[in-house]
Symmetry: C2
Subunit: 459 residues, 2 copies
């Protein structure tokens, strides 16, 4: 898919350079606004306004929403007041609020000046909610109905007021105090047998909703659990204040997944796309864990130092340290990532801990046995016979393999327990992934290694 | 959210045990089918049919769809033919096809016997498409319209035929040969000014669609790129054969993310949830990479062996091996995970490679300098002064820190290049994550370490 797009993009950019504006415009109007917005990402700054002014008004507004903040800012700075007003009129309130959040103060002032009073007050309302809360995600444009309306009246109301609403497919039934009473879908309305049916007799009163203060992660989880198109947001007194639509929920899901992956790889979560992050952003994101893990590796150093005599007596032992540490780290991160993912999909609860441990232990024993046997064979064949290293005696190989087996079991145990305990204590389980587990398992595997070596080799 | 559910669940299970069926039923009918299905997961086998028979017919069918395959199979085996038919009548075709895929042959035969002929043929059609293709995901129940219809006729058609369709909100305009001509949303229809407007004048002809053979990953990416509710699926001759709805696309997104995370943690992707996977499933998923990585660690062993003399002359060097390897591994996996994620979100293309390398190198240099200085300070303070290890001379510390700095740079370079090259060559970039990068970086960091040690310490 990407390759095809790249070819089309190149052709279009060439037309822009050659000033074939009419032909370019004819192609642009057949394209999806998302793809048109993609074009602006690869343009030079001075080309951005040129291409934008080629777009017919409606497509221009639809494309504007999908652009990167950099291009949006550049365009707004070049807009006349009336041009800015035209774009703002086409935006949904939640997109306008996102725009205001992204722009510098001078641009924000112009946006708020040009927005109509109703939109201005809605934007201000949304911006008051904490970042990453349901309130900050929602739009205040939804279709509201009354319980006493008939199906016919409701359809009429949708036809009259629906044009400015982000979704009309779920309508919200509220009372005089804006308390949310129930939901009606357009499907229910259209399929109702009789236009005189009162809304209260067909509305769904067992609905799922969130409050303005709920975290966006809960919003995303609720969407995917219940397969929703839109989710009503209420305040502390159950009064309807807005809806979150599924496109924003999908974006949150993507962001949360990226955040999980970043944390699992030992990074602080970032707000920016990789391509828009500065060197300093990346540095800030990565150095804390690198520093912490480097310092905590002091333990492994201390362990090795305190067994220096044993190592000096049996130099062959040193060569297996990386293999033991890596296999331990890999075994542990397999378990921890599996458990972290199951936790984030709500497939596991803390009460499942004994079941999880029992499962991991049995899996670990299977893996450990197979690895140990294979490792013993490999050492005797490759290290001793093939490479003729006489210092690698069968006893040394045995020490390595016993350590390997124990390390795998310990690693899988630590890997499954730590994320679940972290979650129970209110921490993000994703922190307990590969880098963290590796550091712990390294120290444990070295301790096991030297203990077995001393005992079995009589060092 | 979880805790609250656990309390409600416990209360409901207690009512079931105490046979307070009427009261239990009164609560169940107020619950969302997804939550009712969750109850079945924690029931004992013999309780499952009891609880199921408490549910009113429609809720029973809605709950059935959401259950785990184990509970579904148990229930079907206990169903009379007419009970089975009732449930099948309530299922959408894509859910029925999923059910058929999950069940053993004897159960499948009964399902196909009881399904009405139209559903049977649709199920068979869906099952013919390759696993994980758009065809296997789709449903064949959608609203089709003709270009010459008027808005009024279209609304009438939806009201007459919509009850069995999974979504009515996007309707598909086809010609006599079932070629897909355009889309019309119910919003367009309801907001059309005049009921006599012909469909062809308001239909959207620039639509996105996939073919039956396209991979489900492309389907999921298309949904999130264009924020779709439903995506039309056409055959090789552009004939409309079905639609994928957003709930199935969200499930695919979740599955693909899980798969990415599994691969990144050095596991083969699994088809089953963690909680339903057997020990053997987990073993099969985990052992191949563990084995491969263990064997490839032979290289690190060989490197250490060939520098045995240097190590024997300066035993203090050994203690820093784990720290160097881990920091290298962590630096590399930070870069690789960032790049892998950006690739899977389509934020990066292969042509961005020089930009990415330049970005990573500069970030690496910043991280490397800070880490090296901190490490030098730590070694001199902790290892030399605090622990009184006279063998750790300033020169040894310098060797360690120079190696550390170089390792971080090499690791970040390898970490960003390998996933992009893998993607270019048609492999899954996720394979180039932590375990794989670690193995390569380990070997490189050891080579650097001993080279610097020999040169700077004159070993």
């Amino acid at each position: 898919m990407n390759d095809r797009f790249e070819l089309v993009e190149k052709a279009l950019l060439k037309m822009l350079e050659q000033k074939k504006y009419a032909a370019l415009r004819d192609i642009l109007v057949t394209m999806n606004p998302v793809d048109v917005a993609g074009l602006f990402d690869v343009l030079e700054e001075k080309q951005i306004p040129i291409l934008y002014r080629l777009l017919p008004k409606e497509l221009a507004a639809e494309t504007f929403v999908e652009m990167e903040p950099e291009a949006q800012e550049l365009l707004i700075r070049g807009f006349s007041d009336s041009e800015l007003r035209e774009v703002l009129d086409e935006l949904y309130v939640d997109d306008a609020a996102d725009l205001v959040e992204e722009m510098p103060a001078t641009v924000v002032r112009r946006i708020l000046q040009q927005a109509d009073p109703e939109m201005r007050s809605s934007i201000n309302q949304i911006l008051r909610y904490p970042e990453n809360s349901a309130g900050s995600l929602m739009t205040t444009e939804y279709v509201s109905l009354r319980a006493k309306m008939t199906v016919g009246e409701a359809i009429l109301r949708i036809r009259r007021t629906g044009v400015d609403k982000e979704t009309i497919y779920t309508c919200y039934v509220i009372d005089d105090n804006r308390i949310l009473l129930g939901l009606v879908t357009v499907k229910d309305l259209l399929l109702a047998l009789d236009d005189d049916t009162p809304i209260e007799s067909i509305m769904e009163t067992n609905f799922v909703c969130v409050t303005t203060q709920d975290d966006q992660e809960l919003v995303a989880q609720t969407f995917s659990k219940y397969d929703l198109l839109a989710l009503p947001v209420v305040d502390g007194e159950s009064r309807m204040v807005g809806i979150v639509t599924f496109d924003d929920a999908m974006d949150v899901m993507e962001d949360e997944t990226t955040e999980d992956m970043e944390i699992m790889a030992g990074m602080l979560p970032s707000e920016k796309d990789y391509i828009h992050a500065s060197i300093f952003d990346l540095f800030k994101q990565r150095i804390p864990w690198l520093m912490l893990l480097m310092v905590s590796a002091t333990f492994t150093g201390v362990i090795i130092q305190s067994f220096e005599d044993a190592l000096a007596a049996q130099v062959a032992l040193t060569a297996f340290i990386p293999m033991l540490m890596d296999t331990g780290g890999n075994s542990g991160s397999q378990s921890s990532v599996t458990v972290i993912r199951a936790l984030s999909l709500n497939e596991l609860r803390f009460s499942d801990l004994p079941k999880v441990i029992w499962k991991e232990i049995r899996t670990a024993v299977c893996c450990a046995l197979v690895l140990a046997v294979a490792c013993f064979g490999k050492i005797m064949l490759v290290d001793r016979l093939l490479m003729g290293n006489a210092a690698v005696t069968p006893m040394v190989a045995l020490v390595v393999c016993v350590t390997l087996a124990c390390t795998v079991c310990v690693a899988k145990f630590v890997g499954c327990v730590l994320p679940m305990v972290a979650k129970r204590l209110g921490f993000d389980p994703a922190v307990m992934a590969s880098p963290f587990i590796t550091t712990i398992v390294d120290a444990l595997s070295l301790l096991l290694y030297f203990t077995f070596a001393k005992a079995m080799l009589g060092l």
